[in-house]
């Protein structure tokens, strides 16, 4: 059959009307808008904060921001894959808390490696459960992960009796996230590596292509031979693992962990970061590095408002408006290409 590929080049080539360039130009504009939509505001905000606040452009402040955002960045990086594949994961906040609690409790009696392993196992199981319920039992991901978030939070509270677990006193536990390398804490390094891997996974691998196809047009993807169900399950597993990693990082970084941390607030912050980064809530479109910028953009607003002494309530209002603009921009680019 390889003959077909080489020999049939002498086929008749009838004239074909070319696609209209004006429309093509408009879509390219739409595409670059998506990228510019997050990068330009981020740079402007960065510049404005650098000028208006003397404390902002200090290495300590910038590293602090990254350190605080480490867990959110990890979770949002994996959440991008879930969203691109056409799903959504609202259980990450609870998984984060449960994994943190697990790591803390196991760490009190066993080695650090075992503690981290147990926490990641929690994330894996939750992610697998989410994925199987969504893909096999065809229940909407929104409902599945919302329900799962209650279950997980309940289990976390039950297991820890709602108590604060001190991890700062465990020898070696805090070094996992706070060890310094080139004056940057290990939490930031771990996050950087993890997010880069996820971003490359989405943009450069077969798996990433299948994720995009599954979210863009699941039916077409299936007929083209993509295992849509398996792909979606994998994105949920990655999301669960990322939430667990985030939980361990913060349990180690903050010196204590409690089952009521994370929760819905964290899930929504993660989602906001992904959407502000320009990843489509409708699936089939998105990028890991834009999510990272989206999360940091939101973090900069918070940091800037703190430094400039603006009423923190404004922070929420501004974030809400930015979210609407981000979603509006996504809808607009989609309409342009119809």
């Amino acid at each position: 059959m390889s003959k077909t590929t080489t020999d049939s080049s002498e086929l008749a080539t009838p004239p074909v009307p070319p696609s209209t360039p004006s429309l093509a130009a408009r879509v390219h504009l739409g595409q670059s808008w998506r990228t510019a939509g997050i990068l330009i505001p981020f740079l402007i905000l960065f510049a404005v904060l650098s000028i208006s606040s003397s404390a902002f452009l200090h290495t300590t402040n910038l590293i602090n921001i990254l350190d605080q955002q480490a867990s959110t960045l990890c979770i949002a990086g994996a959440g991008t894959l879930v969203l691109v594949a056409g799903g959504i994961d609202l259980s990450v906040g609870s998984t984060y808390a449960f994994a943190g609690v697990t790591a803390g409790m196991v760490g009190q009696h066993h080695s650090l490696v075992l503690a981290i392993g147990a926490a990641l196992a929690v994330g894996l199981v939750v992610g697998l459960a989410n994925g199987v319920i969504v893909s096999v039992f065809k229940i909407s991901p929104l409902i599945t992960t919302l329900a799962m978030s209650y279950v997980i939070q309940g289990i976390a509270l039950k297991v820890s009796s709602g108590n604060l677990i001190l991890t700062g006193t465990i020898p070696g536990f805090t070094t996992f996230a706070t060890a310094q390398f080139l004056a940057v804490p290990s939490a930031v390094w771990i996050t950087a590596v993890f997010v880069v891997i996820l971003a490359l996974l989405l943009s450069r691998t077969n798996f990433g292509r299948y994720v995009v196809a599954a979210g863009g047009n699941a039916e077409a993807a299936r007929l083209a031979g993509v295992r849509v169900g398996g792909i979606k399950i994998t994105t949920f597993v990655l999301s669960g693992l990322a939430a667990a990693l985030g939980g361990v990082i913060d349990a180690s970084r903050l010196g204590s962990v409690i089952a009521s941390s994370g929760g819905a607030a964290l899930s929504f912050t993660v989602l906001a970061g992904i959407v502000v980064g320009g990843t489509s809530i409708a699936g089939g479109e998105g990028s890991g590095w834009r999510t990272a910028i989206g999360v940091l953009f939101i973090a900069l607003i918070g940091n800037g408002f703190d430094l400039l002494g603006v009423d923190p309530n404004w922070q929420q209002i501004v974030l809400g408006l930015i979210l609407l603009v981000a979603v509006g921009l996504d809808m607009w680019t989609r309409r342009v290409r119809r």
């Binding site: 077909t4 080049s9 086929l11 080539t13 074909v16 070319p18 696609s19 429309l23 119809r338």
Partner: protein, 514 residues
């Protein structure tokens, strides 16, 4: 059939000329493609007027114009001498014109009575007056003679009873013209009889019924007048008396095959069998068996809804067959989903490229390589250079014209989008290709290119199945033709038997006539 249509030819109802609906010189184009050209028809009150023609002849377009769903580009519609300018079904309703479409428009969770009076409830101060509604419903049902409980939930009714609900709704709005698009397509024979009785009683009561039907026996049994359309043009309007299935079929075709097709090179009759389907059953596929040989182009004809696409989807295991086997190159095809079939060399180009084929927002490159990313990647990592090289190669073979490989698929013309799917398919190096409606919505130039592609693929040893609603296309390409009806293969035509009238006869027949 001859004995049957005597019942349909009896004159009935008072034909007051003032109530006639007159369509004069109506034309309609969709995106530059003419769907109707200069059609004039008079529909008399109290008669059953059938519209017939092949798929795409313009019947549904004409019906939609009469029902106010779409407006004509040219021409006028007058009712009782007054010109109508309807911009919506609601305005048509004000003139007493109601459509009962193929897809029923009832709310499954509401009761029969609620559905009938949906949007026109008897109400007082915003509250529905149930007692009043029920009284009106009883009166209506008695007038028509339907046996329907007002409190039954619509979901629990049979399709025929659901249609009754729609008819009641039409009557409750005092409809004088009822347009029915394929009303019996989804009904069992028992239900069809009941529907026919309803249609007759409507006409007796003075309502004009415009009936679109693929079933010629039904048309002959019911209609007073029959209008035949072909390629958007009026062929003729005749009285049903004296018409036969043969004369109607003759009216629907009557064009010579254009020479726009590549020369056929029929394969040897002893060429090896590449695909063998035996006794396949799946949803809407009923006991289908056939073989496909190396180098053969097999056409599958039939009306829309005859089960052709469903057969294709069952063969590639997209739907799980309930029984029967598919053998590819002598080996039974097993495994789940299309992926297994693609890996074994059996590929489907699905019927709707926008919904089932392409990722419209993604690049040309991604769309072509999707099925065989393994060819352009190492350890799961896509090599962009390798991908670009291979995709270019297959785009050349399939003559895709795109300004850039990075353009999203939406930016390409319909023909080029279709060719992208061919490029993706060729990249899979298949031994059997099933192309479902390969030229739908494609310009003339690309059509010819796609015909050439299909022919070349067969010449190079693929088994090719072409499913098409355009009879001309099936006849022009296929070496052998299967005709499907109600999920069954009702005829197999080869050699000199591959003729338009033979295919139509089998497609329209009530049972396996060949």
């Amino acid at each position: 059939m001859p004995g049957e249509h005597s019942t349909g030819s009896t004159p009935r109802g008072a034909t007051t000329p003032g109530d006639d609906l007159v369509v004069t010189g109506v034309s309609k184009r969709f995106g530059g493609v003419p769907a109707l050209s200069d059609v004039s028809v008079t529909i008399r009150a109290g008669t059953i007027h059938a519209l017939i023609g092949e798929n795409g002849a313009g019947k549904s377009t004409l019906a939609k114009i009469i029902a106010g769903v779409i407006g004509p580009d040219e021409g006028t519609i007058t009712l009782g001498g007054r010109a109508l300018h309807m911009r919506s079904p609601r305005e048509a309703l004000a003139h007493g014109i109601v459509t009962i479409a193929q897809e029923l428009a009832i709310v499954p969770s509401l009761t029969v009575a609620e559905n009938v009076y949906l949007g026109a409830e008897a109400s007082a101060g915003g509250f529905v007056r149930r007692r009043e509604s029920r009284r009106r419903f009883r009166e209506l049902v008695e007038r028509v003679g339907f046996d329907l409980r007002p409190d039954a939930v619509a979901r629990t009714l049979s399709t025929a009873d659901q249609q009754k609900v729609e008819i009641l709704r039409a009557l409750s709005r005092n409809a004088s013209f009822v347009v029915m698009d394929e009303p019996s397509a989804a009904l069992s024979s028992h239900e069809t009889d009941a529907l026919h009785e309803i249609i007759r009683s409507l006409a007796r009561a003075g309502t004009a019924v415009v009936l679109i039907s693929h079933f010629l026996s039904e048309v002959l049994a019911l209609a007073d007048t029959i209008t035949t359309l072909r390629d958007g043009r009026l062929v003729r309007t005749i009285a049903a008396t004296g018409a036969t299935e043969e004369s109607l079929i003759e009216g629907m075709l009557g064009r010579s095959l254009s020479t726009a097709f590549p020369t056929k090179h029929p394969c040897a009759t002893d060429a090896p069998v590449v695909l063998e389907v035996s006794h396949l059953r799946a949803p809407r596929v009923d006991d289908c068996s056939f073989v496909l040989r190396r180098g053969e182009i097999l056409g599958i004809a039939g009306l829309v809804g005859a089960g052709r696409s469903e057969l294709a989807r069952a063969i590639i295991r997209d739907t799980r067959p309930s029984s029967g086997t598919v053998r590819l190159n002598g080996e039974e095809l097993t495994g789940r989903g299309p992926r297994a079939a693609i890996r074994r060399g059996l590929v489907l180009i699905p019927e709707s490229r926008k919904d089932l084929g392409l990722l419209m927002g993604r690049s040309v490159r991604e769309n072509v390589s999707l099925s065989r990313l393994d060819l352009v990647s190492r350890f799961g990592w896509v090599s962009r250079a390798r991908e670009r090289r291979l995709v270019t190669q297959f785009m050349d073979v399939t003559t895709v014209k795109a300004a850039s490989m990075a353009l999203p698929a939406t930016m390409l013309s319909g023909g080029n989008q279709q060719k992208l799917l061919f490029a993706r398919t060729l990249m899979c190096a298949p031994s059997v290709l099933i192309a479902d409606e390969p030229t739908r919505g494609v310009d003339i130039g690309s059509k010819r290119a796609i015909y050439d592609l299909l022919t070349t693929m067969a010449d190079e040893g693929l088994g090719v199945i072409v499913i098409s609603s355009e009879l001309e296309e099936v006849l022009g390409l296929a070496h052998r033709v299967l005709v499907m009806r109600h999920g069954r293969i009702t005829a197999e035509l080869s050699g000199a038997d591959v003729r338009e009238d033979a295919v139509l006869a089998a497609a329209f027949a009530d049972s396996g006539v060949s």
